[in-house]
């Protein structure tokens, strides 16, 4: 299993990706940026590195970063100013909306897998409840 991490230090924070992670690289970048915004490491209106700079810094293809930035913009997390690069979006509730979206995404993946394995809604709800109890107990 390869675990090759590359880290890029921005002015405010850091973004890292791992080649050992089987998920597409652009998804990792999106997740990383969203996480940094969600925890406040990348404040609203702060500057993001240019697409080529970030590609070079993380040693990944330009097309990966382009796609990540496009989706981040589509999701309202960043805004791209013509000729001036990208910044973190400056809108209220951004952090909490990202956190909520992340939760929904994880649940969506779980539900998709459940559907694939042929589980019904009730069975899924039962499993979610079980995992919730176990996780809570484990935290205590």
């Amino acid at each position: 299993m390869r675990c090759v991490y590359t880290v890029y230090m921005t002015m405010h924070s850091w973004i890292s990706i791992s080649l050992g992670d089987p998920r597409p690289l652009y998804l990792q970048v999106i997740e990383q940026v969203k996480r940094r915004v969600a925890v406040g490491d990348l404040p609203p209106a702060s500057e993001l590195p240019s697409i080529r700079e970030l590609a070079s810094g993380l040693k990944v293809s330009v097309i990966t970063i382009k796609r990540a930035y496009l989706e981040l913009e589509r999701d309202g997390v960043i805004a791209t100013r013509q000729g001036k690069g990208s910044v973190v979006a400056d809108r209220p509730g951004l952090q909490s909306s990202i956190q909520e979206a992340e939760l929904r995404e994880h649940l969506k993946q779980a539900v998709s897998l459940g559907l694939l394995l042929g589980k019904s809604k009730t069975e899924m709800q039962k499993r979610i409840a079980e995992v919730y109890e176990q996780t809570q107990k484990g935290d205590k």
């Binding site: 597409p24 590609a55 810094g57 040693k59 990944v60 293809s61 990966t64």
Partner: protein, 307 residues
């Protein structure tokens, strides 16, 4: 395999090969259609003997194709055309420098032929690659020799880099040093890299587009993430005597008793209904690594046209 030639003008393409063919005694390069946009990194992956080196040599005018047209940076390259090579940097694993001479001598020699040579950058590269000008080529290790040759290419800031297996046989540190410098090239959106390897891991990281080549033919072309999204590995339990349904893109990779492992290259959100219908229990569905996609593509290509 589609190209973007219809929608793009020739000047947008750093590299263009159209219907290129070349025959040797025991090997044929057949109808290669391949293009690379300016400002991108294109990876060419293929097993040994697939035709990667031949394709790159044809691009550089070192070998003349039997048919087809070849352009690099909008100019047609042939051995009579030297000016086009002014903006191109070519590296091949079997290229050699003059053993009795030093790195510094080679730098002076190359510098005399390139007005774009950047002395300051060359000095920086010596430092980054851990090389010394006075070192004699004969005494260099494989990794040092590769880095010296790449230095001679990078220091003159070519618009197009054609690199034939540059990371072959290199230790991870040397690979890292080289990839870092190549990515610096990418920061300039007018510069293009074509980079080949038989190792997917060397290529997948920095390539905008990845092309698989095997037995003289292009078998697949896309970008890394698209490959990973479209290709899935399906593990399922099937009853005795079960045979995989004939679905476009579905291939049996292996089976052990009633556990079957299939690869599916056309995943668009759902598995083919034919699978569920044949009474199987799907155990898991996972993404494949680019290496697995590559091996499966090659084997599929060979099954479809055994030669």
């Amino acid at each position: 395999m589609t190209t973007k030639l219809e929608s793009e003008t020739e000047t947008e393409l750093a590299i263009s090969l159209q219907d290129v063919s070349k025959s040797y005694k025991h090997f044929k390069l057949r109808n290669i259609n391949f293009s690379v946009e300016r400002g991108t990194v294109a990876g060419l992956i293929g097993p040994n003997g697939a035709g990667k080196s031949t394709t790159m040599r044809i691009l550089m005018g070192l070998v003349q194709p039997d048919s087809g047209t070849v352009t690099a940076l909008g100019k047609s390259i042939s051995s009579s055309e030297a000016t086009a090579k002014q903006d191109i940097g070519y590296f091949s694993d079997d290229m050699r420098l003059y053993k009795p001479e030093s790195i510094g001598w080679h730098m002076q020699f190359v510098r005399s032929l390139y007005p774009t040579w950047d002395d300051a950058y060359a000095t920086q590269l010596l430092d980054r690659f851990g090389l010394i000008q006075q070192q004699i080529v004969k005494g260099l290790s494989h990794g040092q020799r590769v880095k010296a040759m790449l230095l001679l290419i990078l220091a003159r800031r070519p618009k197009l880099l054609i690199l034939d297996e540059p990371t072959n046989g290199l230790d991870p540190v040397a690979k890292h040093e080289i990839l870092t410098e190549l990515m610096r090239v990418v920061e300039d959106d007018s510069r293009t890299i074509l980079y080949s390897s038989h190792n997917t891991q060397d290529v997948e990281q920095i390539s905008d587009s990845i092309t698989f080549i095997d037995r003289g033919q292009v078998i697949a072309s896309s970008n890394r993430d698209a490959f990973l999204e479209k290709w899935k590995c399906i593990k399922l339990h099937a009853p005795e005597g079960w045979k995989a349904p004939i679905v476009d893109g579905l291939r049996l990779e292996s089976c052990h008793r009633n556990l079957h492992v299939l690869s599916f290259s056309q995943f668009g959100g759902e598995l083919p209904s034919e699978l569920h219908a044949t009474g199987v229990t799907i155990e898991s569905m996972e993404s494949m690594t680019l290496e697995e996609v590559f091996v499966s593509s090659v084997l599929r290509g060979r099954e479809e046209s055994p030669s």
